[in-house]
Symmetry: C2
Subunit: 333 residues, 2 copies
């Protein structure tokens, strides 16, 4: 893509605006992922931390702190905290999903082993914990402890709910909060808290992060059925083949007749899949209009995120966050 | 064993003295391991938490708080915290070790799957984090964050150092601190801190927990070569078969001639083991007197633990902790 166009993307605007802070965040991450005695730790971590992710979550913390006029040092600690938690969950997710690839590169569990992924994930989680304690804010610790519990509970829930046709949209939303939104909302919320923002502002930041995270995950799940492999790094139908009940399918099951229900039972619950099943699934999603309905949900969440920021004073970062919410759903619009 | 004799064991004395508190700890554990939405969580956790462990670690926290005259509610939170951290590490350890049994029962990774063990471990860790935040003590959070990092680093170190003949006694000690002593020392230390004890007392409690944990683990590693399966629940030579470099072998390698070194390289580094190798290993350990030397180390650590308590005022619990240090090494004396 043209680099002049590229710079227009909201996350690139954020990265440019926050570049000094992000240098500090990256230095802190490198410093704290070191281990004097266990070289396996920085090896595994570097593989993941330096794999060129967008660093969207730490930028959320920095952005929120800036919008609230913070001029202390601890937003950098919290941004690194959030990235460490994210990296730790990726390491454990890859073990749970038995993944072989992430962001187009082999996963740590494949390059090393599951043991290293589990234990280095634990190490990063404990390092994130040390970083947040350094801020000296019990309120920040409370927020991040609750977010960690939501994340872990959502992951277990996904494990048990994934192949259960009784899974409702409410349960899906809870899984999505665990997988994605809980860390986004904690990231923006702690940015406001560390800056000493008032309760209404902190709530607005939480609501924005939550809605952004939910729309982000819904779009991701939608792209699994209608994206282009080149753009998403995923193949169409991965979730179907892995028997993951995501929103388009949950909506289709709610509208299914007996024959369609039998199809979902065979392919998702029992995991008996044949050639042509994915095409048939796509036909059912289109017949019932659930891809369009899922897109509408993603758009509504993005609007909710933007609306949350309405009451906040003007700030260059505010517009970037509004644009980011639009950009997330533009991928499917 | 005769129940009249049984009650003389120091951990039974502690359990009797702390029984009211332990009722509260167990109630808090049951309350916090619940999950409204993910029933897999209490299933897995109950399997482990209610498997009849001695609850030695939470008792350490309660004992330290009592010795320091604490009369608030938070020692119960911290005791539950310590047990949750312990349970989380057991769940992850069983995945890493690919264990099939713990305390004579099938492990969670066998009953459910590795995924559940990883994610429920994460959940318990996040629940422990919430519990400690509730105490409102940043110093407690700092201690437990540092202990978590030591535990995780020690686990990774063990993964990479286990089969490396260059492993020194210093590295072994660090692994032991991670595996065992870091949680014991944090358990006793936070008991003193929550009670507002002075620095010298807090240091003494830390030193006691650290020394008790180190002696406990050295004894465990020694029993692997000279214990009775019925008493330990382990088979003689498990560590040898699993190619774990523990203190008796590290000492024997330091004294090995060329031929002996080749034997350790083949059996531990390369993992090529034949009938009779365990017997030959035991002969080498006895020839060089390293089982006796390891026992002497365990005794010295127990003495160090007892000496740490010297300066503390008399208290019924103080004598139980002294007796506990003796009891731990009595298993090999």
């Amino acid at each position: 893509m043209d680099s002049a166009l590229e710079i227009q993307k909201p996350h690139d605007q954020l990265a440019a605006f926050l570049s000094d802070d992000m240098v500090a965040v990256n230095a802190l991450i490198r410093d704290r992922m070191a281990s004097e005695h266990a070289p396996r730790i920085p090896e595994v971590t570097a593989h993941l931390v330096e794999a060129g992710g967008k660093r969207l979550r730490p930028m959320m913390t920095l952005a929120a702190a800036h919008m609230c006029g913070y001029d202390g040092p601890f937003h950098v600690h919290l941004a690194a905290t959030v990235e460490f938690i994210h990296t730790a969950t990726l390491l454990h997710d890859d073990v749970v999903d038995e993944s072989g690839q992430r962001r187009g590169r082999p996963t740590a569990n494949l390059l090393w082993d599951n043991k290293s992924s589990v234990l280095v994930g634990d190490y990063l989680f404990s390092r994130s914990f040390q970083l947040m304690v350094e801020t000296g804010s019990l309120r920040v610790l409370d927020i991040l402890a609750n977010a960690s519990a939501t994340i872990a509970e959502g992951e277990v829930l996904q494990l048990t709910a994934a192949q259960d046709l009784a899974t409702t949209e409410a349960i899906y939303l809870q899984v999505v909060r665990g997988k994605t939104a809980a860390l986004f909302s904690a990231a923006t919320e702690v940015g406001g808290v560390i800056a000493g923002a008032d309760d209404a502002t902190v709530q607005a930041l939480y609501d924005y992060g939550d809605a952004l995270g939910v729309s982000f995950q819904i779009v991701d799940d939608l792209l699994d059925y209608q994206g282009q492999a080149a753009a998403t790094g995923k193949n169409i139908g991965d979730d179907f083949r892995e028997r993951k009940l995501t929103l388009p399918v949950i909506k289709a099951i709610a509208l299914a007749d007996a024959e369609e229900r039998a199809f979902w039972q065979r392919t998702i619950e029992k995991g008996v899949q044949e050639d042509g099943d994915l095409d048939h699934a796509l036909t059912l999603l289109n017949t019932h209009g659930t891809l369009a309905a899922t897109r509408d949900d993603a758009l509504a969440w993005a609007e909710k995120g933007k609306a949350a920021l309405d009451g906040l004073p003007d700030h260059p970062v505010k517009q970037m966050l509004i644009d980011l919410a639009d950009y997330v759903v533009d991928r499917v619009n």
